[in-house]
Symmetry: C2
Subunit: 221 residues, 2 copies
Amino acid sequence: MGSHDNRHALFEAMALMGKAFASPVRLELLDLLAQAPRSVEELARASGQSTANTSQHLQALHAGGLLVRRREGTRVRYALAGEDVLALWLALRDTSAARLAEVERAAREYLGDDVEQIDSEELIVRLDRGTAVLVDVRPQQEFTAGHIPSARSIPLAELRQRLAELPDDHEIIVYCRGPFCVYAHEAVRHLTASGRTARRLQGGWPEWHLAQRAHTGKGAA
Amino acid sequence: MGSHDNRHALFEAMALMGKAFASPVRLELLDLLAQAPRSVEELARASGQSTANTSQHLQALHAGGLLVRRREGTRVRYALAGEDVLALWLALRDTSAARLAEVERAAREYLGDDVEQIDSEELIVRLDRGTAVLVDVRPQQEFTAGHIPSARSIPLAELRQRLAELPDDHEIIVYCRGPFCVYAHEAVRHLTASGRTARRLQGGWPEWHLAQRAHTGKGAA
DNA sequence: CAAGCTATCAAGCTATCTATTGAATAACAA
DNA sequence: TTGTTATTCAATAGATAGCTTGATAGCTTG
């Protein structure tokens, strides 16, 4: 008899995860956690929300199965539940950009003028040849949590003072959190304005990370 | 100044799509549309919702960029907006099953006892050898909209009367809408009870379809 | 153009969600 | 113990979402 009820219960359970994606604040938290695990306070600061509100949203994401949490002394560290969750978030983000004009428009407004891009295959060639250097302009913490091999860390905020560290005779390739993060755009604009040859890597650390996993056969279940 | 506002606007736009996934009714509609495009009334009947309510949910899915619609005479035909949307829905579904105990439990309750499975590689081998026949037990309409090559259509409701059509000396491999659809489970249980050798194909038409697309290089943008 | 069918709209009620506030709890240090 | 910091809980008000009902609009057919 209750086969209908059972089917509805199934979709209701799936909607627990769906609901987690239904708030802009939660999406921003996911995006931050795609870079590195963080405490509630760090996430609150980075997202511009109150601590209590951030905590509530994190619990919603946790209830949706997207996050794991661990107490570390006096603070609680939240992290994405797994690479499948990371892939799901990137898929939602990219599909929304492809299908919703609103997202495209907002992205253009936020990122400003396009800067020259380079894809990861080309990047590898140029690094091998030694004609380019790779710079990670995300905050130090995110670099420490994981970065593209052979990248050096120069957080965007420090770029202005640390220009001398970058060789004059190399092309500079910059990456950050991903295609919807301003850091690399701003870095490239600043570098170009300073007379350097600079480009933005297409995709950021999460994309690189996922692609590596896929190639080495550690793919999804 | 408004760089914060711009970032928030970006996530708000992405959340338009996120919100579309936040209701069990909408997920069921997506799941139906993953099989074949349909009119509002068909979707209402299949999902057990009122027409008005179904229409509203379809509009929400449309606003989220997940559906396209086209007027066809007196009715409106809704369809998934693209293969990226199909892939996204399958990813959400599978991730929720992997990460949420509630989904696993609901799926077990709904599907009943496990039946023997076979993966698509093995399927191809057995079809080549001619030791197996492949049966699509979804409603006729969905078969017509797309099916695995070499499958024959026997909707579950007709299986009982059409048993004679199936050769006695072949293994019968059954598929339906996907891993969370009961049809194939029930078909295999019925066939086995009738003394046949039957198994369920792992994954249904949408999974097969996406996998084919990926192999032939028509992958995502 | 009138009838009939499909889909959408509009209004209303209830339930759920969001952000805020202030209090409560957990871990740790002195 | 007491104090301090990080996080969660509880209560609230305002906004949104969900489903129902009845009216409206679009297309087709006679």
